[in-house]
Subunit: 337 residues, 2 copies
């Protein structure tokens, strides 16, 4: 794979420089590898996101209007160091505390937790909510062990909106837990991306198979199935989400008359054409279940280089969550009027 | 390449169905393969775009608020038929005429021209402005023969804004000609996309070469150069744009103190990471030339399936063009607050 980069070891730093330019003055680089909104209201409860680079436009593309206040960015497929987390925390803090919201991966959890300890030593209150939307990575009874995948986009969008009016860190934490609880995703992988520094694939999969529920780096899913059509695969994937809402006693079932957000994500090389064809079938499946789609997101927003694959994320809505979805938002990753 | 599709011959129809869903009620499918805004103001001078499918999210993703009123969509890499153009024209017309704005490809020109004749027979006034921003496809003296490439995104955005207040079809045509004249692009190709119906590559290029100025389907460009770094390639590409502004006597040169839009497009599999690294270098080059970036677009918006490659588009601005850039716009392809 030909990659338009310079020094492979400087990729994460250079893409962040580009990202700051893409923000047209809305955001600044802070410390060694964080990006932070230029203007954060005094007394605002702050929202910090972050994770490894290489998945652009997330996470560092999710900073902006009615979005996160900052992002701590790691190296390619690696968690941001505790120092980076601390620098970002200091930069977004306005004295009302900082909510950490990021995907549930061991390296991220370790480094954000150390960052939180360092911040607490400086008197900054920190709470953490992990994104764990991938229903294929653990059963409902162990849902806190699940990985975070593409559901992070609607989650950060909604928690970003909630953070504009949160009266306390505890209130924002509660809102974030509710948004995460109501967002579930299923992904498939068809071919791997490559590691920019080595050109090596991030995982291996047979040319004729699809990894159902496979994680975005190739982590184990439900099973491998033969390559099939958009219309056969889409209901199979959505059924895993429907069944998960059914089986999880912590959340109301997705039932007839419900409203939901639908996000169809491309992992990279899967084209917008394919996403739209799958979106069409997904909408049909939801309508058959009596669920109406309140809002849609589609595109390559949570990627793993030129990996091919797709995921569906569903957020079950109520009036509170609709209130977090409705406001316009602006960032490099995703903008909504 | 594994593709998540159904019947390869129904791809263009099915992706359009998905696109209508992605618009969340803003747009409707009209006739056999057009997409049109649900609400178009009475007496509005209409703007119609279009072209072959397979390049998602353009062109049919460019319909929306302060964007085009409709798009006529062809089959994969094929122009929309005259019938489709006519159906779209009828649907967007509000009695003040319709401007056709699309990329300069022979098949599109032929079919849109026939569509225009059919529309004129029904008493609908039509004018046409061709997008021909690819500086590598013909010298400045023959610039009307140039291909249309990624510059279409800022062009349609600006002409869409202009169309909201245009007093006549002639006024909108003049605005569009000005926007096109001030927008120039250069692209490179590194590896081909594939044709969904056959799985065959759209062109061939050596594993170690880059096609400088190569078109998005593999059309001839300036030359083939060895694969190189982002920081070496970016100035080479931008220099072709700077030189073009210099040599073209129909347009003022891009000089110190100017403001410009910068769009870094991925042709598909080229990652957002690479786009951001190139954007960073492009911004440095522009600053060295004393040109300030007034607005930025970045991402895989004009694609050719899983093709890898990148393009830069520059729009030289004045107060009139800034007025077309500033308004918010919303579509599936591109949204700006």
């Amino acid at each position: 794979m030909k990659k338009l980069i310079n020094d492979p070891l400087k990729v994460a730093d250079e893409l962040l420089e580009g990202l700051v330019e893409a923000y047209d003055g809305q955001c600044l680089k802070v410390g060694s590898r964080s990006i932070v909104k230029k203007e954060i209201a005094e007394n605002k409860v702050a929202l910090l996101v972050g994770g490894g680079s290489g998945h652009e436009p997330i996470y560092h593309g999710l900073v902006g209007t009615n979005f996160a206040d900052g992002a701590a960015c790691g190296d390619i497929f690696a968690a941001p160091s505790p120092d980076i987390v601390l620098e970002a925390t200091q930069a977004v803090n306005r004295g009302r505390g900082v909510l950490y919201l990021y995907g549930n991966y061991a390296g991220d959890v370790m480094n954000f937790d150390i960052g939180a300890e360092l911040a607490e030593e400086e008197g900054i209150n920190v709470r953490t909510v992990l994104i764990c939307d991938d229903v294929c990575s653990a059963p409902p009874t162990e849902k806190n062990a699940r990985r975070g995948i593409a559901g992070l986009v609607p989650i950060v969008k909604m928690v970003g909106a909630a953070s504009q009016h949160a009266q306390s860190l505890e209130q924002l934490e509660a809102a974030a837990r509710k948004v995460v609880l109501h967002t579930r995703s299923v992904g498939v992988s068809m071919s791997p991306g490559s590691i920019p520094a080595t050109g090596k694939p991030t995982f291996e999969i047979d040319e004729k198979l699809i990894g159902l529920g496979m994680g975005i780096h190739g982590e184990q899913g439900v099973c491998e199935i033969p390559m099939t059509t958009a219309d056969e695969l889409t209901p199979q994937m959505l059924d895993l989400i429907f069944r998960d809402f059914e089986e999880d006693t912590d959340v109301d079932n997705l039932v007839k008359g419900d409203e939901a957000l639908l996000f169809v994500n491309s992992l990279g090389a899967t084209t917008m054409m394919e996403c739209l064809i799958c979106l069409r079938k997904a909408k049909q499946c939801l309508v058959e279940h009596g669920i109406s789609v309140y809002g849609t997101i589609v595109g390559p927003l949570v990627t793993c280089q030129e990996m091919s694959g797709i995921s569906f994320s569903i957020t079950k809505l109520d009036d509170e969550l609709k209130g977090y979805w409705d406001p316009p938002c602006q960032s490099v990753c995703y903008t909504k009027l």
